[in-house]
């Protein structure tokens, strides 16, 4: 069996394994802060639906903004991971084989 043929693919599997573990660890550490108790969800809904925003504390507002940013960041992290994975696989085969053999 030609090991050189499979080396880039084995490398990719290793990359996916490492990143899956890292990505999940990062997401979990981001998820923890944006998992507020149920009352907070109601506070956020109230904040968005009632006109008396000045009555509510500034802390709630910033907590809501922080939560939204963290959710977006988690999504971006997953997308970035998929993009890097795709680019890396393309790059590995591109360099190894030449563009004409594996065009995308």
């Amino acid at each position: 069996m030609e090991f050189r043929r499979y080396f880039p693919l084995l490398l990719l599997i290793l990359f996916v394994w490492v990143t899956i573990t890292v990505v999940f660890v990062v997401i979990e550490s981001i998820i923890v802060p944006w998992r507020p108790p149920q009352e907070t969800y109601w506070l956020i809904i109230n904040y968005l639906t009632t006109p008396y925003r000045l009555d509510q504390g500034q802390g709630e507002f910033w907590s809501m903004i922080r939560n939204i940013i963290q959710i977006i960041l988690s999504g971006l992290l997953v997308l970035a991971w998929l993009y890097i994975w795709y680019k890396l696989s393309k790059k590995l085969f591109w360099v190894e084989l030449g563009k004409e053999k594996l065009a995308t």
Binding site: M1, E2, R4, R5, Y6, P8, L9, L10, L12, I13, L14, V16, W17, I20, T21, F24, V25, E28, S29, I31, V32, R35, L82, W85, Y86, S89, F93, E96, L97, E100, K101, L102, A103, T104
Partner: protein
């Protein structure tokens, strides 16, 4: 709970597991020749396009896999006394049976890519319905380093998606003689090891039964294939892996063990830009050379599944390609076992 030994299995239960393995092996071994004959009589056949003489092979051999899982696992489940294990095995069986039914419909009536995907999502509903009445069925997933997560509300919604992804991803890699049973034997072997390491009783039972079925089936599907699995085979086995991950609490190790399958689907989808049935792709990823070897297509419009990447350095014979898939599966299964060891340590 993460332990490190088979403390949940009594000696008699270990015997039950061994019984499940041999019993399902024997059923499948007995059923496949019958299914082959029946399919030949009914003219449900397909052409082996990777061979020069283009032999006609009976399709839907996966029907034997489906029946063997249902009969083998039902009889094994009866032997176990605790209700939680039975409940989990019931959820698993219903999901696998429903996915198998989708496969049968697809083999007989050719469903579109989107319809098939939606139906495989629906096929996982039994797991969700049972979980609605008995919320102990589906637990939050656990990961290395961080342990069990708190995805208590969101996770059950993800269950059908997981089963559908596994079904379709295994279906997409069932492209050459022996690839599907061979790679899934390695996967189920790794899942059995992980179940032992992570004290998953349900995982041990299902992995053993699935190993029995797939080893028996491999004899008939390996190069040169005497039977094709059809969608009923690949969707059933894929759903079995997905459902096993859920009821056996082996989510992350399953993802790791399935990396070659996931990579194949990921590259297929990213190169084609949409969900599409492989048989409808106008430019195939591989071409058969006059000497019988298989080469990567040089057409820029052809999709880029894993097989095209394997072949990018030059043509190979079909058994050589299949061995390449086994190598990739071995490597990812090794990483899955390593992940399980990490989970035990942390």
């Amino acid at each position: 709970m993460v332990g490190g030994s088979v403390i949940y299995l009594k000696p008699i239960e270990i015997l039950y597991v061994i019984f499940g393995f041999f019993f399902s092996f024997l059923i499948c071994n007995f059923l496949v020749p019958h299914v082959m004959r029946k399919m030949k009589d009914l003219k449900i056949t397909g052409v082996d396009v990777h061979k020069l003489d283009k032999p006609v092979i009976p399709e839907m051999g996966g029907l034997a896999i489906l029946i063997s899982i249902i009969v083998g696992l039902s009889l094994t489940a009866v032997l176990f006394e605790d209700n939680l294990t039975r409940l989990r095995l019931l959820g698993f069986l219903l999901t696998v049976a429903a996915s198998g039914a989708v496969g049968i419909i697809d083999d007989l009536k050719r469903l579109g890519a989107y319809t098939k995907t939606i139906l495989t999502v629906i096929a996982a509903l039994p797991l969700l319905i049972i979980n609605f009445f008995y919320p102990i069925l589906v637990s939050s997933p656990r990961f290395p380093f961080i342990g069990r997560t708190r995805l208590s509300i969101l996770y059950p919604i993800y269950v059908p998606v997981n089963v559908a992804v596994c079904s379709n991803t295994v279906n997409m890699l069932d492209i050459m003689n022996g690839v599907m049973p061979g790679t899934t034997i390695i996967t189920f072997g790794a899942m059995l090891c992980c179940s032992v390491l992570l004290d998953s009783k349900t995982g041990i039972i299902i992995s053993a039964v699935m190993l029995g079925v797939m080893i028996a089936y491999y004899r008939f599907n390996r190069y040169p294939a005497r039977v094709f699995s059809g969608d009923v085979g690949s969707l059933t086995v894929g759903a079995a892996i997905g459902a096993l991950a859920i009821v056996g609490e082996l989510e992350i190790v399953t993802v790791i063990a399935l990396i070659p399958f996931i990579m194949n689907s990921f590259y297929m989808l990213s190169s084609m830009g949409k969900l599409m049935e492989y048989r409808l792709v106008k430019s195939p990823a591989t071409i058969l050379l006059p000497d019988g070897r298989i080469a990567a297509s040089k057409d820029p419009k052809a999709p880029i599944p894993l097989v095209r990447m394997i072949l990018a350095r030059g043509p190979l014979t079909e058994p050589e390609i299949v061995r390449g898939f086994y190598l990739l599966s071995f490597f990812s299964s090794f990483l899955a076992i390593l992940t399980a060891i990490l989970m035990v340590w942390w």
